[in-house]
Symmetry: C2
Subunit: 189 residues, 2 copies
């Protein structure tokens, strides 16, 4: 998606250790109008899939996911990372190892919001090693729901997450795939 590639080129910052910092528009400060356009594109890509629910993970996936869900006129559900008093114990649960934070964490959704007749689209801001996406796919599987695919804002094409997830037969649509990056610039697939 040209709009997103342009934004990454203009506002993204590349740091040693393959870190792409997009916190000026995607995961700390959020370009809300850009999120709306990403939501429209995601709705267009999955228009024929009769999606009944958009699933993401807190926190930075929420902005894109709610825009996509509003366009598709379906509810959005975000998996929680931290224990809260207000989430009852009747949950689907999986463990995700975070590349960014270097820790394992528990991810949970209430069973009451994922059903066998749901057709679920996973939406997230980043795909790197694929851990979060595979964790969300596991929650969908536990619920007996149908996973129609995933929509990602930025995929790091030089990490193995995209290949791993696609090898499981999961449709992945990434709106921008970074093939290579260094301090001189960013090349997209």
């Amino acid at each position: 998606m040209q709009l997103l590639q342009d934004k990454i080129r203009t506002c993204g910052k590349v740091y040693p250790g393959n870190i792409l910092k997009v916190d000026s528009f995607l995961n700390h400060q959020i370009d809300a109008e850009l999120m709306l356009e990403l939501g429209k594109e995601i709705a267009r890509l999955y228009a024929d899939e009769r999606v009944t629910k958009v699933l993401t993970i807190e926190a930075s996936g929420i902005a894109i996911a709610v825009m996509a869900a509003a366009q598709m006129r379906v509810p959005m559900l975000f998996a929680k990372k931290n224990h809260t008093k207000n989430l009852c114990d009747d949950v689907y649960r999986t463990t995700v190892t975070s590349f960014t934070h270097g820790v394992d964490y528990d991810v949970r959704v209430a069973k009451s919001f994922l059903h066998p007749n749901d057709r679920v689209l996973i939406v997230d801001d980043f795909l790197a090693n694929g851990a979060a996406l595979l964790g969300l796919a596991d929650l969908v599987r536990q619920a007996g729901a149908t996973l129609v695919g995933a929509a990602i804002a930025v995929e790091k094409g030089f990490q193995d997450g995209g290949a791993k997830v696609r090898a499981q037969g999961i449709r992945v649509e990434s709106l921008a795939i970074v093939e290579e990056m260094n301090e001189d610039g960013i090349r997209f697939r």
Copy 2:
């Protein structure tokens, strides 16, 4: 706002201990189309305030905040609760005591995204004891920015947060104020 009150009456659940569970449409599963309507109403309420930035706190404030920001055509910024590798140390920081979780936590925004010339609107899903809102207001103050006010989806009118925040001269617009609730029903102000 009638639409939100109706939704709370239909889908909210009241539990002992003054817990109002709205996780079917506001803070776990999200009614994305309702969020869009809340965003429009917030933009209408603050239309004359020349807002330059919407500020919220992860995670459940993000969905409403991004909708309001898209309507107002300004960026949204969400304060972070957890330490991440990718947020540099150049931050404004404050401490918030959570009513829901019963713990203190650090809340941070990168200094690069809040400036003295910003006119900031705080958006959040809940106002109960006011701790999160006052924490966000403190971040705005540290940045030397102007706080034009706050927009809240659901205020618990029987807790003291709303009074505390308004006593500081902060404009608070709550789209639904729960005056009283018990297992028989919910009464709005």
